[in-house]
Amino acid sequence: MAEKEIAGKIVQVNDEGYMTDSSEWNKEIAAVIAVEEGIGELAEGHWKVIEFLQKDFADKGTMPSLRRMTKAGGVPTKELYALFPGGPLKKSSKIAGLKKPASCV
């Protein structure tokens, strides 16, 4: 566990840079992580995904799958790849201040 300064705020992150306390998250932090992840400036489509992830995680306690993003979040998989190239769930969850999708080991 480590601390990192993002957008002028000290936040807790794990070894891979995922925030470990989602209450420290804000939109400025999201914008900085998005640039670090090579996504660039966040547009309306990105925010829709981020808001769905946060709402769904609060409700379910786990990261949604690509299928759930499509069925419940209303974002088709191809569009998710266009918004977050190279790993939509991994990158969008990092920007949203949430955990990486994980297994039990």
């Binding site: 379910k60 306690g61 799958s65 759930r68 790849y81 990486k100 999708p101 297994s103 039990c104 080991v105």
Partner: protein, 410 residues
């Protein structure tokens, strides 16, 4: 007379019937178990069938033999649940009313969810090992295997027993080495996750195993389709993985009954309260095992830990008391690593797999997160425990529903 209906006589349903029959007054309550099948499988044994360690016969028993005598067992399909009316519609058209319903229907593989998976290649060069049919067919295929690209693949999360595909990789590496076919075989592990291990501690301690065993990892692979003629997996971002033999874990789904009854999520899992095991939308419906949408592992050991908590909460529901938020997501899993060795992992909702010993601090005899011969033997002995102790609802000394952190390294 009141009625409690248990849907499904697998691991969770059988344990609940055995627990409840001891706790409920049979003069007041009828316990009805409904399952359309007659066979109960020891599902943890499916993993060993492809390697000729077990056969289908070793893992199959009769459902009726493991249920108590003074319950009602119905061998029929349920077509619809009407939760607002506390009523089931059975496949013979009859209706059955319930006061309490326990969903213990588990999950199953749905190969038709990925384009090309269950087409011309299915059971020819594409196999699953999550069914008795799949693992038996795969045993035959592996027996005549000479070499080529062997791809072990996970379609999407969540899946039943998330460590099983890794165990399969370890066992197939050992099996092929033993038969002199490892040098002619390239083994790849294709996963939608960021790696074979996604937790920091397990990754640090176990990550080297895949390197040592010369297994290629293809991470972040979200499958779009399979071309069974060309024998290639395609991802949504246009990555390709060719195979000669594909051992896949298809999409896992809950029972379609919940889709028809308007009770399931996008994969037909039932939204469930994570600590009480009550269905979120209904006061008299409870869920055990793989049928729920909980962020716990889909595994028999989880259902085992849930059964104790759920039994208590059903008694509380009947007595009009508040439900206990006692389920902590505890799982305890043996992991085969090949060559007669294995690991044991212990974790819950909040604590990642720990190091230490089990069940006793320091003494063990099992070691957590460490590769030992005894852990492998533990896994084999477990089958006896399953049929004789666990599904009968008999309490095992030192095995608590909740995870204990005594003597463990955090």
């Amino acid at each position: 007379m009141k009625r409690i209906v248990i849907l499904g006589a697998g691991t969770g349903g059988t344990m609940m019937a055995n627990h409840l029959v001891k706790k409920l007054n049979i003069k007041d309550w009828t316990i009805t178990v409904i399952d359309q099948e007659k066979k109960h499988y020891y599902q943890a044994g499916f993993l060993f069938i492809p390697f000729g360690i077990y056969t289908a016969k070793n893992v199959t028993k009769k459902i009726a033999d493991y249920l108590p005598g003074n319950i009602e067992l119905m061998n029929i399909r349920v077509d619809l649940i009407k939760p607002e009316e506390n009523k089931l519609i059975l496949s013979d058209g009859k209706e059955l009313n319930y006061d309490i319903l326990i969903a213990a229907t588990g999950c199953r593989i749905a190969p038709s969810e990925v384009e090309g998976m269950d087409g011309e290649g299915w059971m020819k060069d594409i196999f699953d090992f999550y069914t008795v049919e799949g693992s038996t067919a795969l045993a035959k295929k592996l027996d005549s295997w000479e070499g080529g690209n062997l791809v072990v693949h996970i379609s999407e999360m969540p899946i039943k027993c998330p460590v099983a595909p890794l165990e399969f990789v370890f066992l197939v590496d050992w099996y092929l080495s033993k038969r002199g076919k490892r040098k002619t075989t390239k083994i790849s592990y294709v996963t939608p996750l960021s790696g074979a291990f996604t937790k920091q501690r397990t990754s640090e301690i176990l990550g080297h195993l895949l390197v040592d065993k010369n297994i290629e990892i293809v991470p972040d692979f979200a499958i779009e389709k399979i071309d069974p003629a060309e024998k290639v997996l395609y991802s949504y971002d246009d990555k390709k993985v060719p195979y000669d033999l594909l051992v896949t874990v298809p999409t896992n789904v809950g029972d379609e009954l919940y889709e028809k009854s308007g009770m399931g999520d996008e994969l037909n899992f039932i939204p469930t309260e994570k600590h009480t095991l009550k269905a979120k939308d209904y006061d008299n419906i409870f869920v055990i095992g793989d049928a729920s949408d909980l962020p716990a592992s889909k595994a028999g050991s989880v259902a085992h830990a849930q059964a104790e908590v759920l039994t208590e909460n059903i008694l509380r529901h009947i007595a009009g008391k508040e439900l206990l938020p006692d389920f902590d997501g505890h799982a305890l899993c043996f992991i085969e690593s090949g060559y007669g060795k294995g690991f044991l992992i212990d974790f819950n909702y909040d604590v990642e797999p720990v190091q230490g010993t089990f069940p006793l601090p320091v003494i063990g005899p099992f070691s957590l997160l460490k590769e030992t011969r005894l852990n492998h033997l533990g896994k084999l002995v477990f089958q006896w425990l399953y049929w004789n102790i666990i599904i009968k609802g008999i309490k095992i000394p030192l095995m608590d529903a909740k995870m204990t952190l005594r003597g463990k390294k955090l």
